[in-house]
Symmetry: C2
């Protein structure tokens, strides 16, 4: 039975305030819910009976079978799906030692929830397991972010940290030789550089780029070249698009197949 209170609770997860109070988040749709179920603690599952028939074992504290119309009343989507789930937000501890051996992303004030979700999805594609977000970056548990991740949060861990403190801690921990890449208009062409297989890639805010406070920590400035080089073009690329092009190039340079043709 789906009570009015339950509907209200589910819908309240649209707002960061309630997500913080409850420590929960909402995921909707067959693919997303099925991808998340094995990795996150499920508090509440709402589905049509037909959905259930397609699933194996499901671990959830509570499960309500409902008609399409009931799910639609609880849903935040324009086109409600046949399943939605409320999960517990996990607590991750950042392993700074591990960071030294990996390529990771740092997000400096990404504002659009869709951009953030798209970045998490592509990070997963390129085997990036850790994303450090400044406190003013959009919330990964925003339903719009969640939908854009397409389930990638099962493999990508995010941490919200004060970035200057984080960079200082990294330096003090003897990581001063650790490369920190960032995109700037005056940056070098990444296709002409030997990019490191480990390090941090900092991506900045949609309108303002990397903040001046964070710029001082960047050790390698790069810039994606437009084509043809001198002609008039857009001022910039969408931040998820820029992140994708840069991650693809970091991985190409260090994959056996990537260099074969050159």
């Amino acid at each position: 039975m789906l009570s009015k209170n339950k509907i209200k609770w589910i819908r309240s997860l649209e707002h960061k305030k309630f997500r913080k109070e409850t420590g929960c988040f909402l995921a909707e749709g067959n693919k997303l819910v099925a991808d998340m179920l094995p990795y996150f603690e499920c508090e509440f599952l709402l589905s049509e009976s037909s959905w259930l028939a397609t699933q194996g074992d499901i671990r959830t504290k509570e499960h309500v079978i409902a008609e399409k119309g009931d799910i639609a009343r609880a849903s935040l989507l324009r086109n409600p799906q046949n399943v939605l789930a409320v999960f517990k937000q996990p607590d991750y501890i950042l392993d700074t030692e591990m960071l030294k051996t990996k390529l990771s992303l740092v997000l400096n004030g990404i504002q659009d929830p869709g951009n953030l979700g798209t970045i998490i999805r592509l990070a997963d594609w390129f085997g990036i397991e850790t994303i450090i977000c400044s406190p003013d970056t959009a919330d990964i548990y925003n339903p719009k972010t969640m939908q854009a991740t397409m389930g990638a949060l099962a493999r990508v861990r995010t941490h919200y940290l004060n970035l200057p403190d984080f960079f200082k801690n990294m330096e003090e921990a003897g990581n001063s030789a650790f490369p920190i890449y960032g995109t700037f208009l005056e940056g070098e062409n990444p296709y002409q550089k030997d990019l490191s297989p480990t390090g941090l890639i900092v991506m900045g805010n949609e309108g303002n780029g990397i903040s001046s406070e964070i710029e001082s920590f960047i050790t390698q400035k790069i810039h994606i070249p437009s084509y043809p080089p001198q002609s008039e073009t857009s001022e910039s690329l969408n931040v998820a698009v820029a992140t994708a092009i840069i991650c693809a190039e970091f991985r190409r340079q260090h994959s056996e197949n990537g260099k074969a043709a050159f």
Copy 2:
């Protein structure tokens, strides 16, 4: 003076039906409007007086100076800006001869207006001047698309065409040797191929990829490799992100600076 009817007319441009009837579209915000003004016929401009003071010559059929609150009533944005403009949709004629000498994009059922706008913006970055869209692709004049283009429509021309007819016409015009690239799971690694400096890159629908009807026209199947190659990852990339990575690689292979390090 901003009449109620004018507000209604502006807001109606949210809907494709009215955009089609009027042959107009809406653009909002300082950057977008300023980028579009030199290239598109302006029917109506609505701005604060402070905005006007920052501009040079403006060509528009009608110009109304208004207070912020009035602009907000006409705006479709959550955060209304200090200017909006209604432009006439241009009529472009597709030059198929020119297509033979360029790299162009074909969109096969891109549904999300934001993805479409992001693709137009990145096409501009990579010097792609022509985009052919299937009739079921989102409308470029959708306000959400328009906002995501960031003004790139000034340099990128789009054409809505029946794709099978278009491909057949290209073949009949003696372009049978013309490469038509498309992304498929079983495609080749583009980093291991010599990519052509001219041709078409077909990108498919967000959920279903390239349709089977269109697949028969594809001459070169490619697939962006994930990293590391064998590990579990997201099933796919966002379509704008995939378009970006592919366009970046086509351009890298044919830019003087791109190969330097290899």
